[in-house]
Symmetry: C2
Subunit: 234 residues, 2 copies
């Protein structure tokens, strides 16, 4: 299995619908994954209100009610879509943070390391992962600045965000903690903007093809590391 999929791949054989009846092995995870994949794609393309449960069912090759049967009301389906990969993302960021702490041996973790460790899992998944990860990244970008999205993001991402912010504040001793939070917010906004693949950077630079997200990633790390470092200067 390719490393960048982080253990999650698109449900195979999306064209073949299941026959009715109790499935052979324990639970019917296959169908659930198919529904999540379809919902992820449509929510990313059209937004929460723009994507209908009917569309999701059709995209998954299922009847309408299968979606409600497995996930309940629409909001629960939406939350399940976000949660699935949020758990993976959070795990990667926690691992990276633990490793960085170990390497620092009690000292503050370098800013650049913190920026890299927080942003890297997301951009790597969005650029090297399968279509599911690309859809997920686009979806998170849509969610960033709207009420429903912020509420769900808070539930799944805020704990880890606070852990990184605490390390940033430690590494930036003397900086206003609120400035650090603003810097962190700016970093996240930029990260989501890169992965949203809106085509705007191409239009603004005159490129015909999209710049590789890894290149933007390196720029983003340098750019935001420098930004954080100036916050210590009163």
């Amino acid at each position: 299995m390719p490393r960048h999929t982080h253990g999650l791949t698109l449900a195979t054989d999306p064209a073949r619908p299941r026959k009715p009846g109790r499935p052979k092995g324990g639970r019917s995870d296959h169908t659930r994954e198919r529904i999540l994949d379809a919902a992820e794609k449509l929510f990313a393309d059209r937004g929460y209100d723009g994507a209908s449960i009917r569309d999701v069912a059709a995209e998954a090759g299922l009847q309408i009610h299968s979606v409600g049967y497995h996930f309940g009301p629409k909001e629960q389906l939406f939350d399940a879509v976000v949660a699935r990969r949020a758990d993976i993302m959070t795990g990667l960021r926690r691992e990276a943070l633990d490793a960085a702490r170990e390497r620092a041996e009690g000292a503050a973790i370098p800013i650049k390391q913190l920026v890299r460790d927080y942003v890297s899992p997301f951009i790597q998944s969005a650029s090297h992962g399968d279509a599911g990860w690309r859809n997920y990244a686009a979806l998170m970008g849509r969610l960033a600045n709207c009420p429903l999205g912020t509420e769900i993001i808070a539930r799944h991402y805020d704990d880890t965000a606070r852990a990184y912010i605490a390390e940033l504040q430690r590494a930036l001793a003397g900086a206003d903690p609120e400035d650090v939070v603003d810097g962190f917010s700016a970093m996240v906004s930029a990260m989501l903007g890169i992965c949203a693949a809106t085509g705007r950077p191409e239009r603004l630079s005159g490129r015909t093809t999209r710049r590789p997200p890894e290149d933007s990633f390196e720029t983003l790390v340098r750019f935001h590391t420098a930004g954080f470092l100036t916050l210590t200067i009163a």
Copy 2:
């Protein structure tokens, strides 16, 4: 009239509906403004698909068809909402750029000046302007990372964005032009994130009240100026 409204205020007396019949003065601008105000608010709160034309009409105190009569299909209404203040915003940024060019007397404009001039009109309007500007700022944040929004933003904002990017590239001679575009995109993402007022910074910092956007504005200017400046270092 307060300076920060930039000549646009909410239509007065939103509770009184107009009587039917041809209006006394030329066109019925009063009703049009009321509809735009209502649509601006609801699109910001609920998104394009989440806000219905019925809701807009009710918010404006009008019958359903008045909206369609004045603005045609829903997408045209949406574009009109974005366009109204985009024209004002673009004007302010152009003025600032012209003034900065004059002051530079042929030399490159300082980075910090460019950052400030681009971001300031938006954040000042969103923080000191009336409710209409606050709604508009929230709406633009929602639009940033979705297809429909990006298309409309391109139509109304890309020309001025390119003018600022050209000056940034001139001031950052030696930097990769693509890096400069990425930095500009990061700056815009952060600007929109601040004005979206999602409540996330409060949750991440433990504040109970929202940090004044002007404070975040000053941080953002320092932060991103430093980011741009490192792009010249290979």
